[in-house]
Symmetry: C2
Subunit: 140 residues, 2 copies
C-alpha cells in the first residue's frame, strides 16, 4: 500500500511537529479497515504508548480533518468513524429500520456537487456521507 505513511509525510510537509502521539495515531488510522473510531484508535495506541491521552486523539483527528487527510462520518452509532482520504471515497446508505449499511459509489453524488457549485457557488464536501432512510427489504 503506497498510501501508508502519507498522513505523517503530509503533516511534516506542512510544518507540523512530529510527536510520537501523532505518528502512532496516524498509523492506526492508516492500518485500519477505513472506519475506525476515536476509542479504537486510542485503544491501539495506548498499547505501545501508555501515556497518550484520549483528548490528543480527538485533537489530532480534528487537525487531520481540517487538512483534508481524513473524513469523519456519523453512521448513527453514537460515535463518529474516521476514514483516511488516501483509501478512496465512498458513501453509505444507512437503514434506520434494520441498521443495515450499503456502500455507495462516489459518482452517485457528483451531479449534486456540480449543481451546488454552478447554482450556488458552493463547493460541497461530499466525500464520505451517511444517508439515512429505509432499505429495500425494510420498505416492503
Amino acid at each position: 500500500m503506497s498510501y501508508s505513511g502519507d498522513i505523517v509525510k503530509k503533516l511534516a510537509e506542512q510544518g507540523y511537529r512530529m510527536t510520537p502521539q501523532r505518528m502512532m495515531i496516524a498509523s492506526a488510522i492508516e492500518a485500519s479497515d477505513g472506519h475506525i473510531s476515536a476509542e479504537e484508535i486510542y485503544a491501539q495506541v495506548i498499547i505501545k504508548y501508555p501515556q497518550v491521552n484520549i483528548s490528543t486523539v480527538y485533537r489530532t483527528l480534528e487537525l487531520l480533518k481540517q487538512l483534508g487527510l481524513v473524513t469523519d462520518t456519523d453512521l448513527g452509532e453514537g460515535r463518529v468513524r474516521y476514514h483516511p482520504v488516501g483509501k478512496g471515497h465512498h458513501h453509505h446508505l444507512v437503514c434506520q429500520e434494520c441498521g443495515g449499511i450499503t456502500d455507495l459509489d462516489e459518482i452517485v453524488l457528483s451531479p449534486l456537487k456540480t449543481i451546488l457549485l454552478r447554482q450556488y457557488g458552493f463547493s460541497a464536501d461530499l466525500r464520505h456521507l451517511a444517508i439515512f432512510g429505509r432499505c429495500k427489504k425494510c420498505s416492503q
Copy 2:
C-alpha cells in the same frame, strides 16, 4: 398557522398518552422559528412546568422523529436542532470557513432521492440535510 397543535393531535391519534410534558414540548417546537435545540425547548418548558426533566425532552424528540413529525439536523454547532415537519422542508449549505448558512430548496435533492430509490431500492430521508463545504465568498 393551521399546523399549530398538529403534533399533539397526531400523537393522540396514534394512541400515545397526552402528558403535560409532551404537550408543552410539542408547542415549544411548533412556536419556534423552526430550528430549536433541546436545551432551548427545555428552557422554555421549565418556565411553566418546573419539574420537567431534560431527558424527557430528548425522549419526546426521539419519539416525534420516529413518527416523522420532526426532523433533526446537525448544523455543526455541537448541538442538534429540531424542525417541525409541518413547517415545510428545506436544506442548508454550511460553510466550514465562515460559518455562514445558505438555505436550499427541497427540490435540489429530489433527483438524488429518485436515483437512490430506482438504483438501490433505498428510500432516503432527505428532508432536512446539512451539507458542509465552502461558500462562494470563502472559495475565492
